[in-house]
Symmetry: C2
Subunit: 664 residues, 2 copies
């Protein structure tokens, strides 16, 4: 079948199969961001062959030998995708990068100069370099594995095949390098969010059944110990019923929620409320939403169909009355990923006709939509946590989290999230010892959202006295970096550049490739042959910093420095001019953080901005600021200040050129 | 929708949806075994509610609080199924019992007195106690997780829901206890196979590129060291091309295959040939089968559609000429499970119209069919190895294996396979040390097929001199147990009782259930609450022995003894009268093996049968024998001898009653 690609904006094309396909971006209700109109124009970058079977719409794109693919949803073990298959599906991550993940985003980008987005909530499988067709046979050179050392698991020609379990879909192609394609994808999905400034502060999620009185005591303890706190997150017990949820205050635990929220507001603390999507018969919403719910229950609660406008309106009305009117700052949506078995089944029927499997890919996204619109309609920014997201949610101020609590996975999530158009937070719960606790706090303090989740264990920053000073230093660094991070979020919003991203996004796939020379170990699996070079333990935050966290218990690690000179952020000293280097890290030392030659980094020190410059090259930084609370920045009410260095430590401050305000 | 259940045989009923559904048993070409006609009759044991969505046929069965489910395919971590979901799909097992497995058998059995079999190659998902419907709401009692200690992840009413991605299916229900239902399922699928006697001996799979000369040298070494060998398995290099395969001899490595096979036959050794399903253009079969192949290639080879009779005939004709005529004993089919990425995609088109995902569930099964029929047509028994199987293959003489090489998984596979209607072998490759090698050999020596797979590392029984005597003892035990095991296979064939099985199959779910009292560990995942008692490290072989293998490196373990007295097989001493007991196992000691009170076990000692009796209770054993090579046993040419003990060590030998010959 023939696809007709229509130019949508510079370097962006769309094609549709079937009439009026239902799309992720359509369901998110968000328009592409104005930044998408920026150039450069480009030629259509890729051959896409389309085909239909009785069950699938199938796309096929050639894959060259040196090409690498990134994306295919949020990943936790690998970033480089080659010779692998993903069956994208919202689920709790269960240990394999096979497509079952918290953000099953049907988008990928290729080092070959294009990005591809299947804008559909229906199940999408992506086969990367694993398929050949009978019609390719003349070009396929057969080799004999037993005798020919040139035999390969995968041989040319190679392809990416995308199979969509639906005949109706909108397809989007982006042109550019991998960074440009990701930025265009993000802008296409509405552009990144800018959190309220309070969202960048320390979050503390309380124990499951804490009362209002307990909360005030906890906040008092934070104040006494001088740990500045930004947000209190109330876990299930704030509600009159949870699992399933009432979304209404427990009169026993929180007899005077309005007074509590006022009190906390006086102390500069916002409140975030935990919810899951399953509604209790005790909720005011139950009777109204029952007719708009799935034919299956979860934890005995109804599963409202968020694709329906009456459902979204009812939830907004309810939440405005019970929460916003009291000053609640936002939400955490739990359990929308389901662990597969804590969810409606694929055969569940939803009133809108959305298949159960497709609604899985939508539930978290649409919760983000409902609550984002609610706050936008009230002129206040929000931000929060969610267990599942998808493409189309880029402008919704949510970060993803999960339960696995594996340090390496949490770190890899930060490396991969930028390729999936989402943000990831490695939340801190408790730890086996002070060293682990510190490493986790240090990582969280450099992440999109700094969350201590004391749901199960009443952890506090001072839980491990032996590292209390080092924890305090990590939290202080977070505060110092606020203007820097806030400016990175502004770039996410206006230009689509993720504030947290893989080294590959800025530096390309700069590693030598030894994927085909894996050594056999026959005490384990002697057939495992595919080894790929990947970087899943270092990430970029903003444009000028690279983090190389240390795993708990480790005192040294290898850091891979991209080409160019690199400097230690903490000391300013020269560290490397590219390549691998082992670094030693003393006990309780800060998280290893590096800046490239010429980097300019603004730091907040006691309420004023101090500017640091690294190395000897000239450089600049665009410092963004606004009121931190409202959407006035969308109408041009923000400042941009260009911080310029000529290469010496002197930095010049230049008022920035106005940016194009976002059109409403 | 209404299902009409038709009685098929005593305690077996069938219902169909759609006209002439394609079934696994139909595709396997096997008729139910005569033993299925045995009683007792029973009432239809279960309520099955049927429903159709746009995509699925959905069945629903009530699940009581104390009920447990077993089956749902070959599993490697757990046997007890409750509050879990499986999406059955042939695949290399990748660490989770989520339905992706080498034998995705859509069958389960309940302690509630029934078995259920969805006789379809199409994708089947089974939701066990994880779904409730809106229509159940009046019966669902809501609780509040934050305040009510009685809150549960799953609450009543509970159900099993089965979703079949197809509107046409045949459903089969069995009545009886779990052992009876499993036996009826196996008989429905044709009854278990009886291997040729040589199949129970030691198998050695050679290095990938071994020549005929190397093979003879190896066999000479076995003879010199007096390690009796039954089968030589030739790995990929025997072919003129492998990955993809020619199925024809390599003239370089095997210039005179006929002479080699004759030579080996003289020494009492059979030859087994490795194959994968993907056919090279160098094969005589290529041109003939290309029109009957999928539209996708694997490793550059065509993927023939085994559901088509011309394909099966062509392969039989080819293999008869190139292999059987020379005396080849059988096959090992590799790579039919695919690791997901080494396979055709789900959207591949097959000439028969079989969907790609359904063909995944069939490929291994149909290879078993082709080769089983080939040998049957020649009047000789075969046996071999396969990487994927399914329901319908019970009478095909194949055992499953995989690559993971995890000792605990290999052991759990032996415990679970009986619930899936398949057999599993924990093959031995190399090891990190002698202790591990010994533990692996000991486990393999008690399994359905004793295989050393030296494909990658040239392992031999004497690879670790420090345990050579202990290895020799393990192999000797295998030989002694041959009549016992052979009789167990006869029961598999005539009565459907698996020779390898879980303790639960004979003793019921006899453990106390603490699945709802899991302790939180917030240094890990603080939300993990479901803990189930399971037994995945002990199994029954035959009717009179229980194995409790030791993991490599361990010198003690806890053994769970079912109610009643148990005796040490090796010493005859009393060990336990039920319950958990820690046993100590000296270095290089044999694998812990126990017999219940009254057990009678025949042992082969220097060509004659020695009979052992354990404990003081009377007992008996039915010793089966036949020519060990032909199918004459199906025409009544076998002997049954009842070995009876009155409780003293005296054993009386009684010629057995004739069994009903299998009708041809």
């Amino acid at each position: 079948m023939k696809l007709t690609w229509n130019r949508f904006s510079p370097g962006v094309w769309r094609a549709e199969t079937g009439s009026e396909p239902i799309t992720l971006t359509g369901l998110s209700g968000v328009d592409p961001a104005p930044g998408l109109r920026e150039g450069p124009e480009a030629d259509f970058p890729v051959d896409v062959e389309a085909d239909e079977t009785s069950e699938f719409l199938v796309l096929r794109i050639p894959l060259s030998d040196e090409e690498r693919i990134f994306g295919c949803g949020l990943r936790f073990h690998s970033i480089v995708c080659r010779n692998t298959v993903v069956h994208l599906r919202a689920d709790h991550y269960h240990g394999n990068d096979d497509g079952r993940t918290h953000a099953p985003v049907p988008f990928f980008v290729s080092t070959g100069g294009y990005g591809f987005f299947a804008d559909t909530p229906d199940p999408v499988s992506i086969y990367i370099g694993t398929t050949q067709r009978l019609s390719d046979k003349p070009e396929v050179e057969e080799r004999d594995r037993a005798t020919d050392p040139q035999w390969r698991c995968y041989n040319s020609p190679e392809f990416v095949e995308i199979a969509i379990r639906s005949k109706k879909a909108r397809l989007v192609v982006f042109a550019g390098g991998i960074g440009k394609c990701v930025a265009r994808f993000n802008l296409y999905c509405g552009g990144g969010f800018i959190p309220p400034k309070w969202g960048l502060k320390l979050w503390h999620r309380t124990g499951m059944s804490m009362t209002g009185r307990d909360v005030l005591a906890l906040v008092g303890e934070y104040e006494k110990r001088k740990f500045p706190l930004g947000v209190i997150g109330l876990e299930p017990g704030w509600q009159s019923n949870s699992y399933p949820c009432s979304y209404e205050w427990s009169t026993r635990n929180f007899p005077e929620p309005e007074k509590l929220l006022d009190d906390l507001k006086q102390r500069g603390i916002r409140v975030n409320l935990w919810e899951n999507p399953y509604i209790s018969e005790k909720s005011e919403l139950f009777r109204e939403l029952k007719p708009f719910s799935a034919d299956h229950l979860v934890w005995g609660g109804i599963v409202p169909d968020y694709t329906l406008e009456p459902v979204r309106s009812a939830i907004k009305r309810h939440h405005a009355k019970h929460h916003l009117a009291l000053g609640v700052g936002g939400y955490k949506l739990d359990e929308s990923d389901g662990y597969d078995c804590w969810l409606w089944p694929d055969h569940a029927r939803f009133p809108s006709g959305t298949p159960g499997a497709s609604y899985r890919n939508l539930c978290g996204l649409l919760f983000e939509r409902i609550t984002s619109e609610l706050y936008r309609e009230n002129g206040r920014r929000t931000c929060g946590l969610t267990r599942s997201g998808n493409a189309g949610g880029c402008s919704f101020p949510y970060v993803l989290y999960n339960d696995r609590y594996d340090f390496r996975e949490y770190l890899a999530g930060l490396c991969s999230c930028g390729f999936a158009g989402v943000l990831w937070t490695p939340e801190v719960r408790t730890a086996a010892n002070g060293d682990e606790f510190l490493r986790r706090i240090q990582l969280a303090a450099l992440s999109p959202m700094l969350v201590i989740n004391a749901w199960a264990d009443n952890t506090v920053p001072w839980s491990f006295p032996e590292v209390e000073d080092a924890v305090r230093a990590a939290l202080a660094l977070r505060t110092k970096l606020t203007p820097y991070l806030y400016s990175a979020f502004a770039r996410y919003h206006f230009e689509g550049v993720p504030p947290y991203r893989s080294l590959f996004m800025d530096y390309g796939y700069f590693l030598s490739d030894n994927r085909r020379s894996g050594k056999l170990d026959s005490t384990k699996n002697p057939y495992q042959e595919v080894v790929q070079k990947d970087i899943t333990d270092q990430f970029l935050l903003g444009d000028s910093l690279m983090a190389a966290p240390l795993e708990p218990g480790k005192r040294s690690r290898t850091v891979l420095f991209p080409p160019g000179k690199w400097f230690d952020f903490h000391t300013g000293e020269f560290v490397s001019d590219g390549g691998a280097k082992t670094i030693e890290v003393p006990e309780n030392a800060p998280l290893p953080l590096f800046a490239p030659d010429g980097a300019v980094v603004p730091l907040e020190e006691n309420g004023r901005i101090e500017i640091r410059h690294f190395g000897t090259k000239p450089g600049e930084f665009v410092l963004y600021d606004d009121d931190g609370e409202s959407f006035d920045y969308e109408r041009g009410k923000f400042t941009r200040t260009v911080l310029k260095s000529d290469g010496s430590r002197q930095v010049e401050t230049v008022p920035g050129a106005g940016m194009t305000p976002r059109s409403e």
